[in-house]
Subunit: 283 residues, 2 copies
């Protein structure tokens, strides 16, 4: 298992597994065909030798997933607190060693809130309560062309989804000096919460603050997704899919711009439209 | 809050909340429009006054959700163990009273496995281990016409999804004396795990064994969905979407028939095709 250094200075493995698998199927006429499906495997996280959780993941970016999971669950306060993340697919485990643990893990993990993705996600501690303290500043703005360009970038991006389906994608874009947008990270996972956690981990590793970024997901913006967006401080949450009422209410409280049904040139603004610059008003 | 008796003899509330909400949005041209989105709200389950979990749900069938959740998490062994389920949307809580508790809840909830739906679902205890003991008997069979008729039933069914999007549906069908299939239960939720749990609860309430039923979901068949299908003893799992490798491997171990990409007359058989009767072989 090769070990690569990353900034902040975390010793990380670079574990990899096959992501797409070929299987024999029968179609509706009984004809044998080959199909491709995504992998899904357990990854048990040990924080200083303490078992925290087992995630079911595609496995495309396990180290980033572990880091982002610990970040979004508030089990680690800063990437500098982490000395190493070692993922081993032989044992389906991730060993995380901290330099100093500033968090009372027992207290945090004592309260379990099961949330909806398409599923029953998990949040530890009083994340919901924290939302009342988060309110993103107004701005920056995003132009209509940039939104359309961004959605097109996602459309043409080579993906596991195109090969196998059954995965969700999350991505973040950053602004270019020319005022456009550039794809920064693109992560797919069988779990859309894993995908956003992995993005969050990559942001921490590169010291990228959320305020300059635009977040896109193929999945729905339910409460937990909006909470994670607010935690990461990303003012723009875009989805190809839809939003729930609770997701919208959390976006209103935290001043997030929500763009729903993003497809082709189409999008729907559900909150904080003042961040969107319309180039041609057609009314 | 009206109270209705159900068989098995569980005193249950019949709590209801608005499921679809109208909101003002701006489209890509800055035009104000009305959109409909699904509700999403927390429901905290108390089992004999002990807080078990908080689910985020649409709220269409909360009593069945609570019962099915307790069933699928093995927190209750039999519906007869339950005296009452009282859901109160004023406090977003469900109070479950047992006649006798035959389960060591503390032991079960001590181990947390976070699974993927589109999200990070939660399973307590060693559900994964139990899978090695489950193997469904061969048969019964399902004809090609029945599969196509079933998929068409779902297509024409009036749904929250058609009004608001952003929900997943799960349904079970039963066989008719004439050899066809009939829709038995149809449940939508912001969480597809909630939808399958609700179906499981309804099956328990009506004493419907899984062996005679066919399960359909709009969501993906990830490991946890297949585990729940196996627990319910339903030999047919159909999805409009896809399947993950782990979902497929669990179906192979437990002898479940998996039909993927069910749409129109099209479907793909991923496991146990001997349960499918082809009427016209086109090769």
């Amino acid at each position: 298992m090769s070990v690569v250094a990353a900034k902040p200075n975390i010793q990380m493995s670079n574990a990899s597994v096959p992501l797409v698998h070929e299987v024999k199927i029968l179609d509706e006429a009984g004809r044998t065909k080959l199909a491709h499906i995504p992998g899904e495997r357990p990854l048990t996280i040990y924080l200083d030798k303490r078992e925290v959780v087992t995630l079911m993941t595609l496995g495309s970016a396990p180290e980033a997933l572990v880091l982002g999971y610990l970040r979004n669950q508030r089990l680690v306060e800063s990437p500098d607190d982490i000395e190493s993340i070692q993922v081993d697919w032989e044992t389906d485990s991730a060993a995380v060693k901290t330099r100093r643990s500033t968090v009372d893990i027992d207290a945090l993990t004592s309260k379990r809130v099961v949330t909806t993705g398409c599923g029953q996600g998990t949040m530890f501690g009083g994340l919901m309560e924290e939302m009342s303290e988060i309110r993103l500043p107004d701005g920056p703005q995003l132009s209509q062309e940039s939104i359309i360009a961004l959605v097109d970038d996602i459309r043409v991006h080579d993906t596991i989804y195109k090969k196998s389906g059954s995965v969700h994608a999350c991505a973040v874009f950053e602004r270019t000096p020319e005022g456009g947008v550039k794809l920064l990270y693109f992560i797919e996972d069988v779990g859309r919460h894993n995908a956003v956690d992995s993005i969050s981990g990559l942001m921490w590793l590169a010291n990228k603050p959320g305020k300059d970024l635009i977040f896109f997901t193929t999945g729905r913006l339910t409460s937990e997704m909006v909470i994670k967006g607010a935690q990461m401080g990303v003012p723009f949450l875009l989805t190809r899919s839809g939003v729930t009422l609770m997701g919208l209410e959390l976006a209103r409280k935290t001043n997030l711009t929500i763009l729903s049904r993003c497809s082709g040139k189409h999008f729907e603004i559900y909150n904080a439209p003042e961040r969107v610059v319309f180039n041609q008003k057609t009314q």
